[in-house]
């Protein structure tokens, strides 16, 4: 045994597959395996008999205690950090201390089994560090981490994952309950499917899903996952969970407001457009592109007004926009007439507002326009009606004054004359007053007759206009007036061709012609025979019959406004009654026509009668 001890033991120890050393009770090295010697770089040196202190430097307090315990029969384990000179590397060694018994079971020393654990040790440390970092990242980014181990069927959630699910930190998740957090329907179906696929085929996933938290809140998350492999076998899944609810909510809100805005813009009964700085349309609503004659906005976008309107309209619009972009002052509710390329014109009520970028620079124009053509048309019609009304009203008031004035004039005469008659004693004077009363009565009757004529003209609106061959009426008239014409040596020169017709009410036409012709003779120059020239011409929707004479003429500057007034006479002539022209004017107006007078005192007068050619009366 001793032999063996002395001869074989060292050799056996030398060959031990592990780094092993035997120290005696005084901690002096007795044997060491080659591996142990190599571990501490003692290969080839005779280190037997040297103490551990000598060999390894200071032995820390913990190991000293273990060694002491071991010498009393208790094994122990410790780690030892060693600085290696080479490369300033650290080496961790694990020491197993086992009591060394002799054949009599006496502890004679300690068997030390040393293992280099540097690799394991650093890996473990790194892992711890990584785990810490991961937690940090998870907390900073609010991305939850989770891991599922298939073998243990266990699911791990980090704190953030728990926070997202709104469960307490003590919550223990299960795969099934985790899946049930997802909203029933699309979200839950999707998560079940992707988890299954990941486990079966190793397909990673990333899905935007909705889950309902423990507290019942619905939220949007991005759930991602990928399989964990070990020896080419899927043993679990690891993944992340990200709360994107705020993001989705604001996204949805933006989309909703966008849709709302679009709906409003497209359905506004108003043309809306946005133009860039070159006045090219970059946004148009339905009303605008339909107004321009298209069924889609693409046909309009990128084009300027020159593509749709005539040159002048487009240039005006461009100038307007340049001004707005320069002055930065909006143009509000401007009435413009826009003429399109095909010539159709539209009245638009347009507003243009400068479109500013966030930095305050000008980006273009926002415009609104409303088609007010129909409104303008109605307005014009209304104005015409108002004008007609005002005219009628003026005529009525005028007529009322005429009536009142004339009747009052006669009645006051009656009243004064009767007053005289009652008090008069003288028979001759009485007779004179009675004669005057008769005259006043005749005057009153005549006035009433005249007023009746005027009322008739203004009220016989149902009198139909008919085409009348004008020369036929003139021939009749010349026959009727032949005596009067002859007595006054008057000549009528008729230059009207036989095919000329006027649309007129026959009795009115006769009266008008008689009036003007007799007037020309009444107001002839005393020393000159009257010559009356009749002519005809066309002017738009009017046929003009002119009656020119070589008579006294009228000072139109003085009397122009009174020429056709009732009971206005301008010549000191006893047979001037001041009613003829008033009636002719009323008759012409009743036929929708007018009279225009040219005259020069001492030369003569021309009356141009404008007969309306349209059937409407």
């Amino acid at each position: 045994m001793n032999n063996l001890k002395t001869d074989i033991t060292p050799y056996l120890v030398k060959q031990l597959p592990q780094a092993t050393a035997f120290v005696d009770a005084k901690l002096k090295l007795v044997f060491a395996s080659d591996k142990w010697l190599a571990l501490f770089d003692f290969a080839g040196q005779n280190v037997n008999g040297k103490s551990l202190h000598q060999l390894l430097g200071t032995i820390d307090h913990k190991q000293q205690k273990i060694l002491k315990n071991c010498l009393q029969g208790t094994p122990g384990k410790t780690y030892h950090l060693q600085d290696l000179d080479i490369d300033h590397q650290e080496r961790w060694t694990a020491w197993d201390h086992i009591p060394w018994y002799d054949d009599k079971e006496n502890i004679i020393g300690v068997i030390l089994q040393t293992t280099d654990v540097t690799k394991t040790f650093t890996q473990e440390q790194q892992l711890k560090k990584l785990e810490g970092q991961l937690t940090d990242i998870s907390e900073i980014s609010q991305v939850g981490l989770w891991e599922y181990c298939a073998e243990k069927q266990s699911l791990f959630w980090c704190d953030i994952s728990k926070k997202i699910h709104e469960v307490p930190k003590t919550y223990k998740p299960q795969l099934e309950s985790a899946i049930n957090f997802y909203k029933e329907g699309f979200s839950r179906n999707t998560i079940s499917m992707v988890v299954y696929k990941a486990m079966e085929n190793g397909t990673p996933w990333r899905e935007k899903l909705q889950l309902i938290t423990k507290k019942g809140n619905e939220k949007w998350v991005i759930a991602a996952g990928k399989p964990i492999y070990k020896n080419n076998k899927i043993i679990g899944i690891t993944g992340t969970l990200q709360d994107i609810d705020d993001q989705v909510a604001s996204e949805t809100k933006t989309k909703e407001s966008e849709r709302l805005l679009k709906t409003v813009i497209h359905n506004l009964p108003l043309n809306v457009f946005i133009k860039d700085r070159e006045s090219r349309k970059i946004l148009v609503n339905k009303s605008e592109y339909e107004f321009l004659g298209f069924d889609n906005p693409q046909s309009v976008l990128g084009k300027s007004d020159f593509a749709f309107y005539d040159k002048q309209t487009a240039q005006d619009s461009r100038d307007e926009e340049l001004h707005i972009m320069k002055s930065l002052k909006p143009m509000l509710n401007k009435e413009v007439i826009n003429i399109k390329k095909d010539g159709t014109s539209t009245a638009l009520l347009t507003s243009k507002i400068p479109l500013m970028g966030e930095d305050g620079s000008i980006n273009g124009i926002v415009g609104f326009s409303l088609d007010i053509s129909e409104m303008k048309q109605k307005e014009a019609e209304l104005m015409e009606l108002i004008n007609i009304n005002a005219l009628q009203n003026k005529k009525l008031i005028n007529f009322a004054h005429i009536v009142s004035h004339n009747l009052r004039s006669h009645t006051s005469n009656f009243s004064m004359l009767l007053d005289f008659l009652v008090n008069e004693r003288d028979e001759t004077e009485k007779h004179r007053i009675v004669n005057m009363l008769i005259e006043a009565s005749d005057n009153l009757l005549e006035t009433l007759e005249n007023l009746n004529t005027v009322i008739d003209i203004n009220h016989n609106v149902n009198l139909e206009k008919e085409p009348i061959k004008i020369n036929e009426r003139i021939v009749h008239l010349e026959e009727d007036l032949s005596g009067y014409l002859k007595n006054n040596n008057a000549t009528i020169i008729n230059t009207i061709s036989d095919d000329i017709h006027v649309l007129a009410v026959a009795p009115y036409l006769d009266n008008i012609l008689v009036n003007f012709i007799t007037n020309s003779i009444k107001y002839k120059k005393p020393e000159e025979d009257p010559i009356i020239t009749l002519g005809a011409s066309k002017n738009g929707k009017h046929t003009i019959i002119s009656i020119a004479d070589n008579g006294l003429g009228i000072d139109l500057q003085k009397y122009g406004d009174k020429l056709f007034g009732m009971y206005k006479t301008f010549h000191d002539r006893t047979d001037a009654r001041g009613i003829g022209l008033y009636i002719t004017k009323n008759q012409m107006e009743a036929m929708n026509g007018k009279i225009i007078t040219c005259s020069e005192v001492g030369k003569g007068t021309t009356f141009n009668l404008y007969f309306d050619d349209t059937i409407k009366s």
Binding site: R408, S412, K568, T569
Partner: protein
Amino acid sequence: MRKNIDAICIIDDDPITIFCIKKLLKFVVNCPDISTHLNGKIAIDYINSLVERKEAFPKVIFLDINMPVMDGWQFLEEFIALPIKEIIKINIITSSIDPLDIEKFEQFKRRTKHNIHFSHKPIGREEIEEIINRK
């Protein structure tokens, strides 16, 4: 007591009115020279000739508004421009109730020193008396 007035002028195109005014005047004044004129033109020509010849001037004028050739307003326009030193009584006598005529009357009243008065027909003896005696 009838008042003595040298000359009176009546401007009216209606013979009946002239007759009536003349008849009424006889009750209240002694006037050897009552001239009548059928429109404003004749009247202004007459008055112009009086001014030129520096003859006695009518102190009282009766004036109608609606007359041919030159109406009452046109007459007044020319009359107030004449260089007459005395204040003349001008009485507009009309059957018109047109508010425009009243307005025109007020305008003339403001523009002239002459004593202008406006009355509606018919007028009676008391009114003529009042017109003649008015200061």
